[in-house]
Structures are given as C-alpha cells and as structure tokens.
C-alpha cells in the first residue's frame, strides 16, 4: 500500500509538469483552433535560454527567468507572425502541418546548439528530500509541481480579470463576434501565441530542473499533446486533470507491470491511454462535445 501511495505521489508530481505543457497547447487551440506540434520545441528553447543566462552568463535566477520568458515571447511572436498569419483563411490542417514544419526546423537548431551533449543545471533549488508518510520525496520535483500550480492560479486570474484575458476568451467563443465588439482578433492571436510559449517555457524550465536538457526534451511535447487530447483540446481544467491522470497512470502501471513484461511500460502507457480515449471519447474527458459525423 505504501508503495502504491509513493507511486501515486510521484505520478501526481510528474503529472503537474505534463499538465503545464498541455495548457500551453490548449491555450492556442481554444483561441485559434490550431493544434500545435511545435510546443515541445518552445519548451526546449525556453529551458535552453534559461540555462544559457543562468549557467553561461552566471546571472541571478530572477534575471535568467525574466530573460528566458522574454525570449519565449519573442519566439511565440515570430512563429505567429511568419508561420501562422500567412495561413489565415487556409484550411486548419495546413496550419497544423506548418507547426510540424516549425517543430522540425527548431529541432535541427536545438540539436546544433546541444551538439549531442546535455546541459545540466547546478542546483539552484534546495536539494534533498522531504519525508512524507515515511517515504522520501525529492524537493526539486515538489518545487516544479508547486510552480505549475502557481501558474494555473495565475492563468485563472488572468483570464477572469484582465482585459486581454477576457478578449482571448471572447475570441475563443467566436472570431467574428469578438471582432464586432471591438477586439482586434489579429493581435489577440499574437498575444495568445506569446502567452502560450511563455507557459511552455515555464514547463520546459520545470522539466529541465527534474531531468537535464537533452535532445529528447522537445519530444516531451508529444506527451503534452497527448494530455491535451485526453483532457479535451479546449478545456483548461481538462488539461490539469488529464496531466495528473497520465502522470499517475504512467508511474503506477510501470510500478506494477514492469516486473511482468520486463520494463519499458512507462514509455508506452501514455499512447495506449490516448488510443483508448480517442476511440471511446474522441473529444476528451472534459472537452466540448462536437456533434458531427465521421
């Protein structure tokens, strides 16, 4: 039983990180109806910028964080301006494939910068572990999880009380209606991409804190996409729920099934879950149910 509890807690901690990546994708999908494959790279590059300022330039953490987030916003603006905006009016699928092209382009750059090595952080968060119910929990993971919860709270406030946040919600409802009430949909798209890359950068930094920056980091974006799909592409609470669910499922299934099949269950559990959810509830756990014939 204690083993199960420990797996559960570790799963929840990891799930918080997955949820952050998924939130970044849900933000973009809600307002622009574009499913983005490129967010894994935003994570990777954000973490890399943070690492560069913190470790190479030896700046304090706050400066590094601010610079990394500014860099992320610039990347988001550039992607929206040069890859997404020319495709307004084209089928949404073209935009999906363009985010895929963006992923490849940035993946090449990422590999060029890393050169097959990994970039690791010196410990900037308190190391060690806290004992919970007699089981040790690593503090770095706890800190990352706490950061992701803070981020969720911040997003909730942003969407409820700020003018831009309300404009984004209006745009998500209906582009033409939003435009006719005086919201500039075009700049909202731009803000959305910037906000979503900032969130992805947060996730990237939190992930890189747990495991170093390695060339596989951008591929965690696929996990984020799975979480977004499982939770429902247009639901922020769904992303949180599905993220935690996936984290727990991965760890619990790995903990119990690995000895039976000989390892590696963790890599594949997410995909099996995705296939099941897509077959049973294609719109996700909390997503808006669309009525259409397939």
């Amino acid at each position: 039983m204690t083993e199960f509890l420990q797996l559960l807690v570790i799963g929840l901690l990891e799930g918080g990180l997955y949820a952050m990546v998924a939130v970044a994708m849900v933000l973009v999908y809600k307002s622009t109806h574009v499913v983005s494959l490129a967010h894994g790279q935003f994570m990777g590059f954000g973490a890399l910028a943070f690492w560069f300022v913190l470790v190479q330039l030896k700046m304090p953490i706050v400066v590094a964080l601010v610079l990394a987030l500014c860099f992320a916003a610039a990347v988001g603006w550039a992607v929206e301006r040069f890859a997404m905006r020319p495709l307004i009016g084209q089928p949404l699928f073209a935009a999906f494939l363009t985010t895929f092209a963006t992923f490849l382009m940035m993946d090449g750059l990422f590999q060029l910068i890393l050169k097959g090595e990994s970039a690791s952080f010196a410990a900037y968060l308190p190391l060690g572990s806290i004992s919970v119910a007699g089981k040790p929990l690593p503090t770095t993971q706890l800190a990352s999880f706490g950061a992701s919860l803070l981020l969720f709270a911040g997003l909730a406030v942003f969407f409820r009380f700020t003018k831009v946040g309300l404009g984004m919600r209006a745009t998500a409802e209906d582009h033409q209606l939003a435009q006719s009430t005086g919201i500039t949909v075009r700049s909202i798209f731009s803000y959305i991409w910037m906000l979503s890359t900032v969130v992805a950068t947060f996730a990237g930094i939190a992930l890189a804190n747990v495991s170093d920056i390695y060339f596989t980091l951008p591929y965690m974006g696929i996990k984020g996409l799975i979480v977004a799909l499982v939770g429902g592409l247009d639901s922020l609470p769904g992303a949180l729920l599905a993220g935690l669910l996936l984290g727990v499922l991965e760890n619990v299934s790995a903990g119990y099934l690995d000895p039976i099949v000989g390892g590696g269950v963790k890599e594949v559990a997410a995909y099996v879950l995705l296939l099941l959810v897509l077959l049973i509830r294609p719109y996700g756990l909390l997503g808006l149910v669309r009525i259409e014939r397939i």
Binding site: L97, L112, E267
Partner: protein
C-alpha cells in the same frame, strides 16, 4: 478526363491506356532504359542512393494513397515499414521461406496490421487521426523492442535474396530487384487511383458527408486505403531489410515517418509524379546539406564539428514551411503548369 487540344482518342483502349501518346512512350522507354543501365556508368555511391530513393518512393507512394488521395494523414508509415521489414525477416530467417514469397506476404501482413492502424478512423478524423497514428507508431515500436520474436532491441540479421546459387548481395545486384519492384508499384498506384476505388478515395477526401450520401461506405474505403498504403509500406520495409541485411529498431524512428509526410507535401498531395518530385527534392536537399556542412563547420565554428544532422533537419523544416505557405499544392502543380506552357508555346493560353 481532361485532354489537351488536338489529342483524339479513337478507341476505347487508347482512351483507357496509362501511357497514351507516342511521345510519352518514348520518354518513358528512354528514362527507364537509362535508369536500368545506371549501374554500368554510375559510381557505387550513386547506385546506393538510387536504391534508397526507390525504397523511399515505394513507402511514400503508399502514403500518397492514404494521405494524398483518401485524406487520412498517417505519421506512422515508419512503423508500418518496420512491420514489413520484421515480418519479411522472420519469414525468411525463421520459417525458411524464399525472399520472393516473403516480400509479398510481408506486404499483406503489414496491410492487415494497417487495418488495426486505420481502425481509429472510424471515430476520429483530421489531426486527431494524425496524433493517433503517432501513438500507433510508438506502440508498434515498443512491441518490436520487447517481443522475443523480433530480437528485442538487438534486431534481426537478414540474408540477401537468392535465385538458386546467385545471391543479390551487392548494391548493384539489389538495384535490379528494387527498381523493377518500384516500377511495378508505381504502375499499380497509378492504376488504383483512377479506378472506382480511387475515385471513392478522392470523394472521401474532398467531402466525406457528400461521399456517404452518394453511397460510398466511408469506413470501408478508409480501411481499404490504410490496407493499400500499408501493403506498400510492407514491401518497402521488406526491400529495406534485405538491402541493409539487418532489421533494427533504430532504423524506423518516428522522424522517418515525419520525413515521408514532408516529402509528400513538397511533392504535392494527390499526384503520383509528385511522389517522385518530393522524394528527389528532399533527398537532394539532404545531400547538398551533407556536402556543404564541412564548410559551414569552418565558417561558423560554434556549430561544432558535425552539424550535418541538425542543419539537414532545419533546412527540411524551412523548405516544408515555405511550401505550405507559398505553394501548398507542391511541385506537382508547378510541373502541370510547366507542361501546359510548353504545350502552348509560343502562345500564352
């Protein structure tokens, strides 16, 4: 069927022929002849490039049928190729069948597996299906790496094809298996897409509701498209395994399936010649990056000593994005425009 001015089909046979005019026969005969004679005057390296190109063409032809004609995007072609390669390897090495039986059987096995891969298309479409195929890729490759019969992460050795004592064990010899198979598969693809089945695929792609109203069983045709596509992938995988002499999970990574989709977009969705354009252009891009990368490493020392992989990926992504934004119909569309303007020369229209 659209015909240019001055071309009259007088008989039914002439109207239905795939290669219709004497000029086309001439061009086709000469180019196939030159291609088949290539090992006589080309270097070893070029022959090996041609072999890889031809195998890629077969896999991308399959993708063209399911994605370009039937409109169901599949990122999982690499995993389907792996299924073909491994089943061919198991059939020849463990069951002792000859390559000539194993290759088509591997194709059919992969096609059956593709029915499994196409099953989600009953409930989902568009990018949902695309992501589902990514999931299928990972599940397949996980199985390949964990089952006893596929040699786990070590892979399987594969022996070259044989006719009696004659073994096709060099690049030049394999060339004479791969190229005819590619030609036959191209002929097959061209035929499929203009039959009743092919027209049904196009109807499903263009408007699935309208297709259903016209009495097309959408789900049946989607599955059929997946079957045909995976048959192509299986044959390509079988050739790949026997050409390289080994099956290894590293050969069939997700990135390969992504490249194939990219080739398709660059070449043009819904066009058989487009497959050739896309495969050749992307390969040429890759080769030129490979050739230029030492200079890049000299000019920009921060790139490191081996920038080829990263540079190639970036260049590919850039070309893909440019095509999606500037020329979404791909090179095949340019090719049609060029043919029309040559035919009409010196008039504008």
């Amino acid at each position: 069927m659209w015909r240019p001015c001055g071309i009259f089909d007088e008989t039914y046979r002439q109207d239905m022929a795939i290669v219709r005019t004497p000029l086309r026969w001439g061009v086709l005969t000469v180019s196939v002849g030159v291609l088949l004679a290539a090992p006589l005057f080309c270097s070893y390296y070029i022959v090996s490039v041609l072999n890889t190109l031809a195998i890629t063409v077969i896999a991308v032809l399959g993708l063209q049928i399911v994605t370009g004609y039937c409109g169901q995007v599949s990122f999982g072609q690499a995993a389907f190729m792996a299924v073909g390669a491994y089943s061919s390897a198991i059939l020849t090495e463990k069951l002792g069948l000859s390559f000539w039986i194993a290759m088509p059987v591997a194709g059919v096995i992969t096609g059956m597996y593709g029915l499994l891969g196409g099953a989600p298309s009953m409930r989902i479409k568009g990018f949902y299906l695309a992501v589902a195929t990514i999931a299928i890729h990972f599940v397949t490759m996980w199985l390949v790496q964990h089952l006893e019969i596929t040699g786990k992460s070590v892979g399987l050795p594969v022996s070259p094809p044989q006719i009696g004592p004659f073994a096709f064990d060099s690049d030049e010899r394999m060339f004479y298996i791969i190229i005819p198979v590619m030609l036959a598969m191209t002929y097959g693809a061209r035929n499929i897409v203009r039959t009743r089945v092919g027209r049904a695929f196009v109807a499903v792609r263009d408007n699935d509701l309208a297709a259903q109203v016209m009495g097309i069983n959408i789900y049946y045709y989607k599955l059929l498209a997946f079957f045909i596509s995976c048959f192509y992938a299986g044959v390509a995988g079988s050739l790949w395994a026997h050409y390289h002499g080994v099956c290894h999970p590293e050969q069939f990574q997700l990135l390969r399936g992504l490249w194939y989709i990219g080739m398709l977009i660059v070449g043009g969705l819904g066009s058989i010649p487009g497959v050739f354009f896309g495969v050749i252009l992307i390969r040429a891009l890759d080769e030129s990056v490979l050739m230029l990368s030492p200079y890049f490493a000299q000019w920009f020392p921060w790139l490191g000593t081996a920038p080829a992989a990263g540079l190639g990926l970036s260049a590919f992504g850039l070309v893909l994005a440019l095509f999606l934004i500037k020329e979404p119909r791909g090179l095949a569309h340019r090719w049609e425009i060029m043919k029309a303007s040559i035919r009409l020369y010196p008039f504008a229209y």
